[in-house]
């Protein structure tokens, strides 16, 4: 278009004004829900037809017994009819994801058949080598297949295909269209044959997934470095690799009307209490939504109190941690497409622990726990205490320090709390920017930003150096909290305490601490009090603030009410001459 034409178009009002701009909801038009009704009419018709067919067949099969009833479905023995219904269900030809390859099984006479699969979810190598090749090329080598040989004429049947022709490792007969659709969507290939009311699903799943990587938020120095991926089966295998026991059970549930997400419920049958397993399954099965595409989303549907500031379950990306929790009687939930396992139930204290606590020798593990506890206390209360002291309780500070703080604050025009909030906002900005900036330059930008901004703010006399120290220590402490979601919750609580400290000093801080503690004390995670084993006290408190030696951790936590309380023998280091004699020996002696 020339410049003149463009100009002319601009000057011509009839052309420059759009008569009807696009909008999703225009006045006078039928609401989208009504459109949906007409769109879904064909689905409803298809389902009704299937249902009626099935009822007719059930009536026919009833006299033949239970087995016949189980094999009754709604598939037709007409291949064309089956394909037509499948195409209708999957919105072909608009939908290009479903591939239908029609061919003939090399029997005498040839049997028309079709293999259907979803593009991208399947392994085409398996389809070519293990489905099409045997059926199209090799099936005539079997002389018993429909050749009317010595044993007389034998008819083609899917049973024969399953037993003799298909070398696939998992092949399942399907009897209805809904199962065919489910199998296709999960990545299986489905075979339909002329003259047969039975389809065959062959395992060809190969969804796109990344390989096992390293943990992003739960890094350790000592210990394994593998982390969950988005592939549910890989995740289950990573856990099972650590628990080679037939009693480890993975039950698979499907959640989401549209997403049909696989949700694996993992537990050890002889340890986890059946009541807990049943409750987890009950909550998952109660979810009636269209899409659940992440463990974080599922978590919000099943946790006890979604309004809580702190998480009610533990999300971990570490298979070793998941295996350890399973061995203590917890239940792990693995969600397909999510690289996190949900561990339930949990306590507040377990959120402050890491795998590394147990990989290091016990004195070091204990020190790490104390450091983390100090970190959470500092992160929560340091700004509030500083403001309370500066505003209300100056007498607590030694005189020289008080004079120094007063002199540095003299030039700062803002009240201390405004200074603190400003620096906190800047700190949060740096933190948020750090997570968005590409990994290579992220830490550098964060470091430069914090150094330059801090220095500049002090020189510009916007904030005092002591305030920078308070904010920096608080920020550092918040990074030492091992759980990201707890860190988030603590940040919110910190602002709450800060507000109370600003208004009422230590009195306000005490009010805040009391409220937060009552709030946490009222929480539960799948029936387990949040602050147990401290409040209420359940069993020994050794594995809480201290990390006891592994050889002394003989029992599983009491609050889990496990089927088998004993974790290990009473005396594990039996070779050690310093080890005490077992109690049973003492009794015997």
């Amino acid at each position: 278009m020339s410049i003149w034409q463009s100009l002319k178009r601009l000057l011509d009002p009839s052309r420059s004004l759009v008569n009807q701009p696009f909008s999703l909801g225009n006045r006078g038009e039928k609401p989208a829900s009504e459109e949906l009704g007409t769109e879904m009419l064909s689905d409803a018709r298809l389902r009704t037809e299937n249902l009626l067919t099935r009822i007719d067949r059930l009536v026919e099969a009833a006299p033949q017994g239970k087995e016949a009833l189980e094999k009754t479905g709604d598939l037709s023995d007409d291949l064309e009819q089956n394909l037509k219904r499948l195409k209708e269900l999957f919105r072909l030809p608009e939908n290009k994801d479903l591939v239908i390859r029609e061919f003939a099984v090399a029997t005498q006479p040839p049997t028309p058949a079709a293999v259907c699969f979803m593009e991208g979810l399947t392994d085409k190598g398996i389809i070519n080598d293990n489905i099409l090749q045997p059926l199209m090329l090799l099936s005539h080598l079997d002389h018993h297949v429909g050749d009317g040989g010595e044993n007389g004429p034998s008819s083609f049947s899917t049973d024969m295909v399953l037993k003799r022709l298909l070398p696939g490792n998992q092949s399942t007969p399907l009897y209805d269209l809904a199962s065919v659709a489910d199998s296709l969507l999960s990545g299986d290939s489905v075979l339909l044959f002329a003259g047969s009311r039975v389809a065959v699903a062959v395992e060809t799943k190969s969804p796109p997934s990344r390989s096992v990587g390293t943990p992003e938020t739960e890094r350790v120095i000592w210990g394994p470095h593998d982390a969950f991926t988005e592939a549910f089966r890989v995740n289950a295998a990573l856990v099972r690799r650590r628990l080679k026991d037939p009693r480890v059970v993975t039950e698979i549930l499907t959640v989401g009307e549209v997403s049909k997400t696989f949700v694996g419920v993992m537990y050890i049958d002889t340890i986890a209490t059946p009541k807990l397993v049943a409750e987890v399954k009950r909550r998952i099965q109660a979810i009636k939504v269209d899409v659940v595409n992440s463990s974080s989303v599922l978590d919000q549907y099943i946790e006890d109190n979604p309004n809580s500031i702190l998480p009610g379950t533990l999300m971990t990306e570490r298979p070793d941690r998941t295996a350890a929790y399973l061995s203590e009687g917890h239940v792990a939930i693995l969600v397909d497409t999510s690289p996190h396992a949900i561990i339930c139930p949990i306590t507040f204290w377990s959120l402050l622990q890491t795998s590394e606590d147990y990989y290091l020798r016990y004195p070091l593990g204990t020190i790490l726990r104390w450091i983390r506890l100090t970190a959470i206390i500092l992160s929560l209360s340091l700004p509030a205490l500083y403001i309370a002291i500066i505003y209300y309780h100056q007498e607590m500070i030694p005189t020289e320090l008080m004079l120094f703080i007063a002199s540095t604050r003299e030039m700062v025009p803002m009240p201390a709390v405004a200074e603190l909030l400003l620096m906190d906002i800047v700190f949060e900005l740096i933190r948020e920017a750090g997570t968005r900036i590409p990994n290579v330059i992220g830490p550098t930008v964060g470091l430069v930003a914090s150094l330059v901004l801090g220095q500049a703010a002090v020189e510009a006399k916007i904030v005092s150096p002591v305030m920078i120290l308070v904010v920096a220590v608080t920020g550092l402490a918040s990074f030492a909290i091992p759980n990201y979601l707890v860190g988030f919750g603590v940040r919110i609580m910190r602002f709450f305490l800060l507000a109370l400290a600003t208004v009422m000093g230590f009195y306000g801080v005490a009010l805040g601490i009391f409220l937060l503690l009552v709030l946490l004390a009222a929480e539960r995670s799948f029936g387990v009090p949040y602050l147990t084993p401290l409040a209420p006290a359940r069993g020994k408190l050794v594995d809480l603030l201290l990390r006891p030696p592994l050889y002394r951790m003989e029992e599983r936590p009491g609050y889990m009410h496990t089927l088998n309380r004993q974790r290990q023998k009473e005396i594990v280091r039996s070779w050690d001459p310093m080890a005490p004699a077992p109690k049973s020996d003492e009794k015997g002696g």
Partner: protein
């Protein structure tokens, strides 16, 4: 019966009773004990402890006769549907009065010590809101929060006493028998009503799985409180002397003010105030909860929660009613404490006798 309000085990029960009662040691009560006993104030505390434990006997017997029931249900069962609720109402009113005076006393002490420019109403409103929230969350939550707070409160107070020991002058504890045996004995018995608030455990008796747990909680909690009272009075008299100690309404605060551990750690009383606030909040929450539970029981309401907000709103103007701090102290010492005998001793005893006469409870209710 109240709907599920959680369960209280022995440990939680002991901690709850101890926290409920020991919060009084931050207030004027040690001063009262010294006033009566002089240098032998600690003996008054000792007799007070023994008396307080005796006070629990009727309540324990009643709980054993009606396991799994709270005061309201027991009253209705033992004394009938007319007299029973009236007796429960009396206990409820006493508990609420105790709550009101606790709020007033703590507010006054905070204003006097750390927040001199703050009017009382913001402190009262904020404390009442906290108590309302805690009571709403239930006794189980209060008990669990207390379980975590108590080591802080008790540990902090114990450190104050320990760090004060270098200033202790044993000669101030003489004459050994103080003002004489009779005033000490009578004073001790009179102030055993300090522990009358322990009737709270009978009010929420339904939360105890076993009546034995209730008895143990009450007895052990009261005993620990008594030991705390003896220690506080002993150190207070040993440092300030009986004449000054008997005029000191904030004993632990004043002890904390004396602490000097080198140049860096001085004037730690503000930290003590934090523990003090926490103890006060636990006490006010428990009393408010028990008042609401007994009142709802007396009125035959199925839930206590709807009463919490009105009671919390009432709490503030009633706490502001006494003309000054001294008047509130006087009301507490001369009216509320003696009436505590009615709440913790007379009413449970009457109910027990009525149950015996009317052949209510006992084996029929035994678990």
């Amino acid at each position: 019966m109240q709907p599920y309000d959680g369960h209280i085990g022995v440990q939680e029960g002991v901690i709850l009773v101890f926290a409920l009662l020991s919060a009084m040691l931050f207030l004027q009560y040690p001063q009262f004990l010294v006033e009566v006993g002089g240098p032998a104030g600690w003996q008054v505390a000792l007799i007070m402890t023994l008396g307080a434990m005796l006070l629990l006997v009727p309540a324990s017997a009643l709980a054993r006769r009606f396991p799994g029931m709270g005061l309201a249900e027991i009253s209705r069962e033992a004394a009938g549907s007319v007299v029973g609720p009236l007796l429960t109402l009396l206990v409820s009113l006493w508990l609420f009065a105790s709550c009101v005076l606790t709020l007033r006393s703590f507010t006054e002490t905070f204003i006097t010590t750390i927040l001199p420019d703050t009017p009382p109403s913001p402190l009262m409103i904020s404390a009442a809101l906290c108590a309302l929230f805690a009571s709403y969350k239930g006794l189980e939550s209060i008990a669990r929060a207390t379980q975590i707070l108590l080591p802080l409160i008790a540990g902090g107070s114990l450190l104050v006493l320990l760090f004060s020991l270098p200033r202790l002058d044993v000669s101030l504890l003489y004459p050994f028998w103080g003002h004489g045996g009779v005033p000490t004995l009578m004073g001790g018995l009179y102030y055993s009503s300090m522990a009358a608030d322990v009737v709270v455990i009978l009010a929420v008796g339904y939360a105890f799985r076993d009546p034995g747990h209730l008895r143990t909680s009450g007895m052990v909690g009261t005993l620990l409180f008594g030991l705390g009272a003896i220690a506080v009075v002993f150190v207070l008299v040993g440092i300030f002397g009986a004449p000054i100690a008997s005029q000191n309404p904030f004993p632990l605060y004043n002890l904390a003010r004396l602490i000097y551990l080198g140049r860096f750690l001085q004037r730690t009383e503000s930290v003590i105030v934090m523990f003090w606030v926490l103890a006060a909040l636990v006490r006010i929450s428990v009393l408010l909860h028990a008042s609401a539970v007994t009142l709802s029981g007396a009125l035959g309401l199925p839930q206590y929660r709807p009463l919490l907000f009105p009671l919390a709103v009432l709490l503030i103007p009633l706490a502001l009613l006494p003309q000054d701090f001294l008047t509130s102290l006087r009301i507490d010492r001369d009216v509320i404490r003696p009436l505590g005998f009615v709440a913790v001793l007379a009413i449970p005893l009457l109910l027990w006798l009525l149950a015996l006469l009317r052949r209510k409870g006992g084996k029929r209710h035994a678990t």
